[in-house]
Amino acid sequence: MAKKTYDLLFKLLLIGDSGVGKTCILFRFSDDAFTTTFISTIGIDFKIKTVDLRGKKIKLQIWDTAGQERFHTITTSYYRGAMGIMLVYDIANEKSFENIVKWLRNIDEHANEDVEKMILGNKCDMDDKRTVSKERGEAIAREHSIRFMETSAKANINIEKAFSELAEAILDKTAGREQGEHVDRVTVDRRQQASSSKSCCNN
């Protein structure tokens, strides 16, 4: 029998406006490479990368999505099932930052409720063209209680760190869930009691 080469499988998703560098971030993380030619992602693609976290081999399946507006209604249908979402903007593109709010709303509407989120301000190597300050990025992340990091796929800044932090957050949650099994059962019982007492009132 073939042995599983990993302990856990995490499905991650990269979203954000077109051209903010989602594909480059993924390419840097999976292949440790960077290309300056821009090829718009027309569809949904994924890559595999296995990481070691706290002695566990975790296989990350990272989905890269088309950022173009015309595909938004389709790409949102891929949110479900994602355990972690990276929301990327470009620090040199004001509009992409403003749209963060819209993307967050999309996540609320279409992703699993307990999905781990992270905001990435990409292209932080291009400080001379910066229009969105790091403070503004931090502020919006704080406002929504989401992790935040500035990254550069080109200069390989914080790329590994971003993925491992997101994966670690999911791992924490997974571990918590295993232990909290007992607690869940209590909640279910309480809910049943509540519903039965309600039906009493109706009578």
Binding site: T5, S30, D31, I42, G43, I44, D45, F46, K47, I48, K49, T50, D52, K57, A66, R70, F71, T73, I74, S77
Partner: protein, 636 residues
């Protein structure tokens, strides 16, 4: 590694441990590991039956006092079967690298436990090397060679540490010690003693049963032993260096031996120790320089990472991959019922066969819009090969443009999006009767403003029936009243296209030369009006009323005025056609079937059979009865 074996003949350890110390300290540098095996630790009945003895603790204490003074030792494992005991101790500085310790024993008496013969073993891992020490006490007496062989094999095969490595043979290094009890063959006591006295050990060694059995391949396959340069260790008079002087006068023998097997083991010493005289055996020990594999953590981590990376790379490379020559398919301006086709080429650029299929997106019913056809919509492409996929569009409804996004799914891989778009040219076909009656000019000449007002009913009604309908029927009045097989022979696409263009652009020329094409255009015109001529919500009542003309007429009054006009206009024309049935061969029932299905079409376009008959009947009522009073009303 210090390996020692001693049959202590049931004696307690000596009170003065000086000699014990000298036995255990045979080198300047302290050994890293001590493995000391005793046999006949306790000869009492209690030990024999209950496997309990105070001797174990006594001897262990004695050993601990006597180990090399330059190092401290910690016990790795200790195991005992009756009188057979094995203790393995390690220099405490190495202790943290010991893992996976296990012990086991095998008795070779009845039921595998009775008797004091058998073997005990300790297994553990030091850094990355697995070590196994086996201490045995095999059957006694000179004639019991086969028995000893069997004991050896039982121990070798039955010891099971119940984890990996499981069996003795699975370890990197094996040290086998004990009172093997093999004797000297064919030399009597006198001869043996004579050779010993002469210092001629080799002659006696030739007659050593153990060496002979090992050479015959019966025991200790693959094991090595150091050269024996010491005199036989059995059997002495207690507290002396004198061989057995009792009546039995057993021939001296090398019963106490140490063997080893595995890579990187270098024996440095093999000796007996004469000063320990409390037993009828002398202790024997060996000293080994053994190579232990140590994992370079940094290198291990790097290799591990590289391995994961290359596995990921492989997995990514083996994902299905395709390229499409165009993911944005734009068609020329599309016109009513003039199909267009374009091919896209999907090339498998990956390493594995690709199973593709178009999948539904969001909550849509189908993988593409109703005006599009994809062939094939699924299939398989082998690596390096290409597949043409044909996209065909056909417009049969009033749309300003065609837009769709197709999702091409690769089994086990990514999804690609393909956008399909086209501008539509508007046509009088697919317009609503109400819009057409409000158009002051042919449809293509309308300004957007005019069109908008006509569509939302703001502009004035200019015609009682659509001009286009009048043109078609007028043609048929003039040219085709006596034409046979009207509505049955199909016309050429080109002729149909020409008629549509005439009607849409309002050319004043003859709309066609072919009555058949005009007749078919009439059917199509009525089939594709935005809404059916008989309003859908009235169909049920029409069906119920179909046997009574009076009731049918009542329902007709429920129609919108313009639809009512169209309905009556068509019926009048058909009545007129039927007047020439001798010439044109048409009959009322046939026409009613054709026009019933068209004028009362359902959105799904699949009417149940019984309803079809009743729709036919409904139309028949209007083709066979006098309609003049209805027209009169209209004129008022």
């Amino acid at each position: 590694i210090f390996v020692g074996t001693w049959n202590v003949n049931g004696k307690a350890p000596p009170t003065d441990v000086e000699n014990l110390k000298r036995w255990l300290n045979c080198s300047d540098e302290p050994p890293d590991i001590y493995a000391i095996g005793f046999q006949e630790l306790d000869l009492s009945k209690e030990a024999f039956i209950f496997n309990e003895t105070v001797r174990e603790a006594e001897w262990q204490k004695a050993l601990e006092w006597s180990t090399h003074p330059k190092a401290k030792y910690r016990l790795v494992g200790i195991v005992r079967l009756v009188g057979i005991q094995l203790a393995v101790m390690i220099n405490y500085t190495h202790f943290e690298h010991v893992s996976n310790v296990a012990v086991d024993y095998v008795g070779t008496g009845i039921l595998g436990k009775m008797g004091n013969k058998g073997g005990v073993a300790v297994s553990f891992q030091l850094h990355n090397t697995t070590l196994c020490f086996v201490n045995c006490h095999l059957a006694a007496h000179v004639e019991e060679v086969e028995r000893r062989n069997q004991d050896y094999n039982d121990i070798n095969t039955k010891i099971n540490f119940k984890r990996h490595p499981q069996a003795i043979k699975d370890h990197d290094q094996i040290y086998w010690l004990g009172d093997m009890n093999y004797r000297i063959r064919r030399l009597d006591t006198h001869e043996v003693k004579k050779h010993i006295a002469m210092g001629d050990l080799n002659t006696i060694l030739c007659h050593d049963q153990l060496n002979q059995e090992k050479e015959r391949g019966k025991i200790l396959a693959g094991f090595e032993e150091g050269d024996i340069n010491f005199q036989p260790t059995y059997k002495y008079d207690v507290n002396s260096d004198r061989y057995d002087s009792s009546e039995k006068a057993r021939a001296p023998a090398w019963t106490d031996r140490i063997f080893f097997k595995g890579k990187g083991i270098y024996q440095q010493l093999y000796r007996s120790f004469m000063e320990l005289k409390i037993s009828d055996h002398k202790p024997v020990n060996a000293l080994f320089r053994s190579e232990i594999g140590i994992v370079n953590r940094e290198k291990y981590r790097r290799i591990h990472e590289d391995l994961l990376k290359s596995m990921d790379k492989l997995e990514n490379e083996f994902l299905p991959q395709v390229t499409i020559d165009s993911t944005d398919v734009v068609f020329d301006t599309v016109k009513f019922r003039e199909p267009q086709a374009k091919d896209i080429i999907v090339a498998n650029t990956g390493m594995v066969p690709v199973d593709f299929k178009f999948i539904q997106k969001n909550d849509e019913k189908s993988y593409c819009k109703e005006w599009l056809r994809i062939t094939p919509f699924c299939g398989r492409i082998n690596p390096g090969e290409k597949s043409d996929i044909r996209l065909e569009i056909n417009l049969e409804q009033a749309l300003q443009s065609l837009d769709d996004i197709l999702v091409l799914h690769l089994e086990g891989g990514k999804d690609l999006f393909i956008t399909v778009s086209a501008k539509c040219q508007r046509s009088c076909f697919t317009m609503s009767v109400s819009t057409l009656c409000r158009c002051p000019v042919p449809i293509l000449n309308l300004t957007p403003e005019q069109l908008k007002h006509a569509e939302n009913g703001q502009s004035q009604v200019l015609y009682s029936v659509p001009r286009e309908l009048w043109l078609l029927i007028d043609f048929l009045y003039r040219k085709a009243l006596k034409t046979r097989d009207l509505f049955e022979s199909s016309a050429l696409h080109e002729e149909m296209k020409k008629i549509r263009e005439c009607l849409d652009s309002g050319t004043l020329d003859q709309i066609s030369d072919s009555p058949y094409a005009v007749a078919e255009s009439l059917l199509i015109f009525l089939s594709f009006t935005k809404d059916p001529v008989v309003p859908y919500h009235l169909h049920k009542r029409c069906i119920e009323a179909c046997e009574s003309f009076a009731q049918c007429k009542e329902i007709l009054e429920q129609f919108h005025k313009l639809e009512r006009n169209v309905f009556l206009y068509v019926c009048m024309f058909l009545q007129d056609l039927l007047k020439y049935s001798v010439d044109n061969g048409l009959d009322c029932h046939g026409l009613s079937i054709i026009f019933g299905d068209i004028l009362m079409r359902t959105p799904m376009r699949n009417t149940p059979k019984p309803h079809c008959r009743k729709k036919t009947r409904f139309i028949e009522q209007f083709l066979t009865n006098d309609l003049s009073d209805l027209i009169q009303v209209n004129k008022q």
